[in-house]
């Protein structure tokens, strides 16, 4: 789809407003929009919101043969994806001028500044090195994609952990995250790009242009800098003449902005680290509603089904209405059997009764977590330890009501349970 034309009215108004030092969203000349950094569940996944602009970066790694001229250096690969998701003006699967420009700028900003120690990515010299791939996806376009992309990319790189490896002679072992903790990349500094747009042949300058401002600007200057005030790249586009003083002033502003953003990134990384250490659900995942695609997954198992229908009907008849407030929001879909894993411990309560009823005894590998729980409860539970818990949920009841209902109908099971309590 072609870009919708900017009306003369908008153009005139924007230029007039800029002359009066006013911006559409009430910002000052040197203000950035609100930056928000969130992380995904996996390492190396980072979302950056810059006002309404939204960008996602995902880092991944792979073992590949190194380049011939650099046998002991890892490879960095950057890819910027402009999909129609971000704006209808972007086309699918075609390298537009803008995407080439952004890609090139990101490479200059992150690879050519040597902010990442590529030599530490070498596994076997001349044979195997890590290739780090950074995919940046634009999710919404409201101007200044470059700054958002550079923040997302460097934050994702800082957040990323690659698998640990061990080299013994000729043999290279890659350890899974369960075996050995994955290793962070060694990052020397964090280059961040800051964009300046110029209006009226460089008379007026704005930091962090939004989409409409980008459309009326005459020229753009992008300065990538780290917090040590080292310039990593400077790019000017749009063909305007800039004075030496202007560039110097821009670099001064950039140094202030970069130190602010760097602080924000390190704070975000720290928060995420804390959240991960605490073991809770962290980052972006936390802000999303729980979508458990495994909720409907079911391992096949032999179940005796002689009088299940009657029993199920019985249970349904005898149960009370479930209370309005559900204690745990993880209610599986009705009529779903599931192997309960890693949730609140319900051992020794109602589940084994259910199991007796079905007459299923199963020996299976259990999760470490559950085994622990089992050990701690081992002295209370009388039945054999190796019994896999298994729930057949016939109705989305809360555990309480289920418990009651099953008590009703199984005298034998409850009596067994009573004496163990």
């Amino acid at each position: 789809m072609k870009d919708t034309l900017l009306s003369n009215c908008e153009r005139d108004f924007l230029l007039k407003a800029i002359e009066e030092k006013k911006r559409l969203d009430g910002r000052q000349t040197y203000d950035y929009r609100k930056i928000k950094i969130t992380f995904g569940t996996d390492y190396g996944c980072c979302y950056v919101d810059l006002g309404k602009t939204r960008v996602m970066a995902q880092v991944s790694c792979e073992l590949v043969a190194p380049k011939e001229n650099r046998p002991n250096e890892g490879i960095m690969f950057f890819n910027i994806e402009l999909s129609p998701l971000a704006s209808p003006i972007f086309e699918q699967g075609r390298q537009s001028e803008l995407s080439v420009k952004l890609n090139r700028q990101l490479e200059r900003c992150l690879r050519n500044s040597k902010c990442i120690d590529t030599e530490s990515l070498c596994v076997v010299s001349g044979e195997k090195v890590w290739q780090i791939r950074v995919d940046v996806h634009m999710l919404n376009h409201d101007g200044n994609l470059m700054d958002a992309a550079s923040i997302a990319a460097i934050t994702a790189l800082c957040h990323f952990r690659r698998p640990d490896i061990a080299v013994q002679g000729e043999e290279v072992t890659v350890y899974s995250p369960e075996e050995r903790d994955p290793i962070a990349l060694s990052i020397y500094h964090m280059p961040i790009s800051v964009s300046f747009s110029f209006f009226q042949q460089g008379t007026y300058l704005l930091v962090d242009p939004c989409e409409r401002e980008e459309r009326v600007m005459d020229g753009l200057l992008m300065i990538a800098m780290n917090k040590h005030r080292e310039i990593c790249s400077v790019q000017s586009s749009g063909g305007i003449m800039l004075l030496k003083e202007q560039v110097l002033r821009c670099s001064k502003i950039a140094s202030v902005k970069v130190s602010e953003i760097t602080e924000l990134i390190s704070k975000a990384l720290e928060n995420d680290k804390k959240a991960r250490k605490a073991g809770g659900r962290c980052g972006f995942a936390e802000s999303l509603p729980q979508e458990r695609i495994t909720a409907l997954k079911m391992d096949e198992m032999p179940v005796e089904v002689t009088d299940v229908t009657e029993q199920a009907y019985d249970i349904i008849q005898k149960t009370k209405e479930p209370p309005q407030t559900v204690p745990s929001p993880l209610v599986p879909a009705p009529g779903v059997g599931q192997v309960d894993q890693g949730q609140q411990n319900t051992w020794g309560l109602e589940e084994e009764e259910e199991e007796r009823e079905d007459g299923v005894e199963e020996e299976a590998v259990m999760e470490v977590e559950q085994q622990k729980e089992e050990e701690s409860k081992g002295n209370i539970v009388e039945i054999s330890d190796s019994e896999e818990e298994e729930v057949i949920i016939l109705h989305p009841e809360t555990p309480d009501t289920l418990h009651k209902s099953s008590c009703h109908q199984q005298g034998s099971a409850t009596s067994k349970k009573k004496h163990k309590k």
Partner: protein, 266 residues
């Protein structure tokens, strides 16, 4: 290219159901409630026909967001069910993409001049055509002064899913009636279609609150485009930001904000 042409917004379908009296009351019970796509109004067809009561064949007119599927009425947009006397029902939904409907007035941007028609972008899936004769007082000799990039306020003469939409800047009697090319100045911005409908509703609270602030010109297009002009740039920006923030505010929050603006907080 994003195309969403399958559904017209105001293509009302008349659903004459076998026992529409029951359907009518069912719909009426749900007026003002939030419904989701997939909700349906189905009813069991009675085999017995009452001989004593006279069965009136009452028709239900379904507006946007409601569809007939067999003997059921299916909701296909998430929103609030609305009702208008005597028998019109529709879903009040929030969306951003405009689908043209005949007779609605929109703000468009002239993108090309080709021969005797202008192409106008109104934010829909394709551009509309606007004849140069469709302006007040325009003749073959006396052409209107319209440049590429100008804004026009026009209404749809043809809005059909199989045809190119056509705009005109005159009403049925050849009068401009407020339509035409915009003068210089002012700011154009976008809001959601839901907010536009709230602004245009008779006795709109937002409008009355806004009119107490300071004088300004406001043009509201049904396609979600608003044009504002006030005495200064600062004031124009204030109005545009106020209107954009109205989107997600309750009435009390809005009054609070407007009061603060009136006291000169901004």
């Amino acid at each position: 290219m994003r195309r969403r042409r399958s559904r017209r917004r105001v293509n009302a379908c008349e659903a004459g159901f076998p026992n529409s009296v029951e359907m009518f009351s069912r719909l009426k019970n749900k007026v003002g409630e939030v419904l989701l796509p997939g909700d349906e109004f189905c009813f069991d067809t009675d085999d017995t026909i009452s001989l004593t009561e006279s069965v009136k064949a009452e028709k239900v007119v379904c507006g946007p967001g409601l569809r007939r599927s067999g003997d059921r009425l299916v909701v296909c947009k998430s929103g609030v069910l609305r009702h208008k006397q005597p028998n019109v029902f529709w879903m009040d939904a929030q969306q951003k993409r405009y689908v043209p409907a005949k007779g609605e007035t929109v703000i468009g941007i002239v993108t090309t001049k080709s021969g005797d028609v202008f192409k106008v972008d109104f934010g829909g899936s394709e551009q509309a055509s606007l004849s140069y004769l469709a302006f007040e007082g325009a003749t073959k000799r006396n052409r209107p002064n319209v440049q590429v990039g100008d804004l026009v306020f026009a209404q749809f003469l043809i809005a059909n899913k199989d045809m190119e939409p056509e705009l005109v800047c005159i009403d049925g009697s050849g009068r401009a009636n407020g339509m035409g090319v915009f003068g210089a100045g002012g700011l154009l911005f976008m809001v959601s279609l839901g907010l536009v409908r709230r602004l245009l509703a008779p006795g709109s609270e937002i409008m009355s609150d806004l009119s107490q602030l300071f004088p300004c010109e406001l043009v509201v297009g049904m396609n979600g485009r608003l044009w504002v002009k006030a005495s200064s740039i600062q004031r124009t920006l204030i109005v545009s930001n106020l209107l954009q923030s109205c989107e997600n505010m309750t009435a009390t929050q809005r009054r609070e904000l407007f009061k603060r603006v009136a006291q000169g907080a901004l």
